[in-house]
Assembly symmetry: C2
DNA sequence: GCAAAAGTGTTTGGATTACACCCATGC
DNA sequence: GCATGGGTGTAATCCAAACACTTTTGC
């Protein structure tokens, strides 16, 4: 058995991570973009991403890269798909792996840093042209995410910590592009462990809604002890 | 902005693909292994995997690698997780991406080729020590797969093309580690598009069961036209 | 006839649907 | 009081679980 190229030649690739950070505001899902101030694609919009150091593990690298470019810390990143088209990077063979997260936009203050010149949250239907294959990465990751919304309680990472049931319903209506009946939605989510707070909406010009919080403790306990399956 | 190492230094990694091929026989899920006849880990069991060529796209590389090592062709491979621990490969920084497939073991004839010395199907609970981090890759990919069994009709890739309902039930019972009621199982799968064949089991020492086939055409049509969601 | 598994029917209670209605607040 | 959403109740229907039962085959 022999390779068609010299063995050393295989060790000429690079590897990067790109972070697709999704949030929810104004009734729409948004993605976090940076304006690049470094070649290649200097001056263009992209998702935060960079090369991995030789001795760096992937989850650590993902956090580091996101923090360096946007000052965001403590974001819970998950691995997504890997993109390795041979022509995707103009400077050589760079394979990239998507890391994604769902965050509460209002609880964070993303700020451009390092070679990021600017940051912005773009609604998914208004994403500008992006560097590299970043549009494909964003859209493909969003599709994966929508599937996860069915089977895992990740909507609570997008909603404010204290939310009204109607906000939750609207998020699902947006993601699945369907309309839901209010009364039935409320019955359906009865099995989800939520804490009913002693608080109400403020500054609304109609009857204020009660606020709820996802009971993560109890959720984990239910999964452990009763094989609980989240379903929406 | 500057990197802690020279830019060229980033282009010193390699990238491989490892194929986790799952099949079902004797009531158990099996994974396809090869015995390596090449360093590193020569003489040890591993899943079929190899380095990607500089100009090669990932899906093509996955097919090529699987064919080179096992002579299997036309297997429908899907991308899985990426593993990039800095210490995972003794010869340098090699990041690897898992590609997985579900196959009908009896319809295939896997044969060792190239630097594979031997192939075998190992039941998941009897997987020997494996080279690199291949045990982690296999187990982690199997977990992903079990989740997919809930929401996608992939069980039919594991079952024989013509199967009895009881075989399908047993596959789910094995994967989810639960017992199911026969009558209720049959009611539950009524919504799945199956073709009832005019054939029965042979060589069984009891009443032979009717055989069924998954109606892939109709499934795709239902997904397209009626937003059909497979659920188990 | 007997063993073994195929295959069906019935009951019950809990979810899902569609839809109507009342309630609390700002203005 | 009225507009605006918040929040609830009901009836019809569907679905799932538990369990008993009948059928068809090999031996």
């Amino acid at each position: 058995m022999s390779y068609k190229i010299k063995f050393d030649h295989f060790f000429s690739y690079s590897f990067s991570l790109d972070c697709a950070i999704f949030g929810y505001k104004d009734g729409k899902i948004h993605v976090l973009l940076i304006k690049r101030a470094m070649e290649p694609f200097s001056g263009e919009w992209a998702i935060p991403g960079d090369l991995v150091y030789p001795d760096e593990d992937l989850p650590d690298a993902a956090s580091r890269i996101l923090t360096e470019l946007t000052k965001l810390e403590g974001v819970d990143l998950h691995q997504g798909q890997t993109f390795g088209n041979p022509g995707r990077h103009p400077q050589g063979r760079v394979i990239t792996c998507a890391y994604f997260a769902l965050v509460r936009i209002d609880d964070l203050k993303a700020e451009a840093d390092s070679w990021a010149e600017e940051v912005m949250w773009a609604p998914l239907n208004e994403v500008p042209n992006l560097a590299f294959d970043h549009r494909e990465i964003v859209m493909s990751t969003y599709e994966d995410l929508k599937k996860k919304l069915h089977s895992e309680p990740i909507c609570f990472n997008l909603l404010p910590e204290k939310f009204a049931l109607n906000e939750m319903q609207q998020l699902y209506e947006y993601a699945y592009d369907v309309e839901m009946d209010k009364a039935n939605f409320r019955k359906k989510i009865k099995s989800i462990p939520l804490v009913t707070l002693n608080e109400k909406q403020k500054n609304v010009k109609h009857r204020p809604a009660k606020l709820f919080r996802f009971d993560e403790e109890r959720y984990k306990q239910l999964v452990e002890e009763e094989n609980y399956l989240f379903r929406m």
